[in-house]
């Protein structure tokens, strides 16, 4: 066997991985709740990307003639204590929330997978030490560890992202390690090693690619937890700082204005619908993958 045949094997693995993801996505669209979740999340992502065109007003624009105005044809979700349009702020708030979730889960996925891959591939004392550290981090309730990290680094948008990424790293590391252990000793991996492929090459091209799709699916399952953590940090005043609009901070402001309920109801509804949709996707993926497992 030559290196050319290994490369063609890599390409086949890559194609298989992409094909699997596409199939899972296709089946998700046939799962009733999964499809609803997917449609809502895609709509939210699009409205976040095109926020300046979707939102009727600038989120920081003050309407002195309409302070604390109730929902109306002009201000769909009403206005806040400074006369800012809540609908526009919810739309722009989705940018921050989705950005934090995407970046932090993406970073956690990359770092956690790399740790799990290395730990599972090499085994031995590296594995034991790394996994004990991961277990230690997993012992913390997610929000408690995130709070501690944000407290140490100072409350702002970047640190909230970093904290959410760090608290999710152990979950990805554990999952990846488990997956790696199940493929590490398969024939094609042994063959690649016997042919003299470097550890890095075997880890990245042969082992990594074959566990990638499960990790990506798991990332979608962690997204709703990340969104709740981000909103909780913002609610406690430890997320993105004013004037950046976030759903959590808008809700926290709403706590001081109970007589103007729209101030808190709509940002909370946005969080609720997002989390519910992400959970729908997660459930759909789980059902899809479970039925595939039973088919095997």
């Amino acid at each position: 066997m030559t290196s050319a045949s290994i490369s063609s094997g890599d390409t086949a693995a890559m194609r298989r991985s992409r094909g699997h993801l596409r199939r899972v996505l296709g089946e998700l669209l046939h799962h009733k709740l999964g499809a609803i979740g997917l449609v809502v999340v895609v709509a939210m992502v699009l409205s976040a990307i095109f926020a300046p065109w979707v939102a009727p007003f600038d989120p920081a624009e003050l309407h002195y003639d309409a302070v604390l105005a109730p929902p109306s044809a002009r201000f769909w979700f009403g206005t806040d204590e400074l006369g800012r349009d809540i609908f526009s702020r919810v739309i722009f708030g989705s940018r921050i929330s989705l950005e934090i979730v995407a970046v932090s889960i993406g970073a956690a996925m990359v770092v956690g997978s790399a740790i799990g891959l290395t730990s599972g591939y090499f085994g031995g004392w590296v594995d034991r030490v790394v996994m004990r550290v991961m277990d230690g981090m997993l012992a913390f309730p997610v929000l408690v560890l995130a709070l501690a990290i944000v407290a140490a680094l100072g409350p702002d948008l970047f640190n909230a992202m970093l904290a959410i990424a760090i608290v999710n790293v152990p979950n990805f590391a554990r999952l990846t390690r488990g997956q790696v252990l199940s493929v590490r000793n398969l024939d094609y991996v042994q063959a690649a090693t016997a042919l003299g492929a470097s550890h890095l090459r075997v880890m990245a091209r042969h082992v990594g690619l074959n566990v990638a799709d499960n990790i990506i699916v798991y990332a979608s399952l962690r997204a709703s937890t990340a969104l709740i953590t981000e909103s909780s940090l913002s609610f406690l005043g430890l997320g993105a700082q004013p004037p950046i609009p976030t759903w959590g901070s808008m809700l926290a402001t709403g706590m001081d204005y109970f007589d103007w309920p729209w101030m808190g109801i709509f940002p909370g509804l946005a969080i609720f619908v997002s989390v519910l949709s992400l959970n729908f996707i997660g459930d759909g993926l789980r059902d899809t993958l479970d039925s595939r497992l039973y088919e095997r």
């Binding site: 004990r132 309730p141 501690a148 909780s232």
Partner: protein, 314 residues
Amino acid sequence: MWKYVLRRIVESIPVVLVVSVVIFSVTRILPGDPTFIVLGEFATEAQRAALRQDLGLNDPIVVQYLKWIGSLLSGDFGHSLRSHEPIVDMLRSRLPVTIELTLLSMMLAISIGVPCGVIAARKRNTLADVLASTAAMVGMALPFFWLGMLLIMLLSVHFGLLPPSGYVPFWVDPLANLKSMIMPVITIGTAMAGTVLRQTRTAMLQVLSQDYVRTARSKGAHEFVVVMKHALRNALIPVATVVGLETGSLLGGAIVTEAVFSLPGLGSMVVGGIFGRDFPVVQGAITVIVTAVLVVNLITDLLYAALDPRIKLA
């Protein structure tokens, strides 16, 4: 059994070690000079240097860590930098609030989640099942702080039935205590009930399809007896595990819920400590929270083994 308990305790030592290092490192890099918090802005440099020496901040970081661990083991959590109150006293007054909140929430979750889960499984694919499953999904997706806020708007502001915030200790006025706990408990219990409901439904569906349940039915046992005696008893084992493992989420939820309802528990102690840059307070509260999670996980593990005789302990 004791061998198993000992093995689990020994296995958790490295985890406890990592946890302590994480807590120590994170809280020691809190921004801001602690001497400014204790002495204010107008103290002389000599006073600050003396305080740093006194607090042990000039020691190498490893020495500081070992001293901290030594103090913890002897039950000394240090003093608050701001109020100078012993952390142990603060924990003593706040711990009951969080324990009451989490225990009542757990009880509410179980009393809603288990019966609804059983009904959903028994009436699989009927309207009752769809309603229960939908309610579970909604409950699990409701952010604590939003639900808390909606409850305050409805029950306090609109109907004036309950106090919007505040806490009265149980031994001072039991009725007022329960009144102040109703909304926080509903807030946390609802989300937890969703998890318990789903777990009960799944476990019941698995158990109801087992041979021994069919045998019980074929022997002519009443359906109520089949469900309650044969099925539910076995289905509750995984449910008990999930409830135990959810302690971390419960305590995380307690932090936010205590902030919403101004309850003087561990959660508000952490948040107050963070805003006040009071690292001994943050350290103390987080240490207790994580220790509680570790202990409950250990107990859950042991209970699981004790409840299910098929699990070999050693």
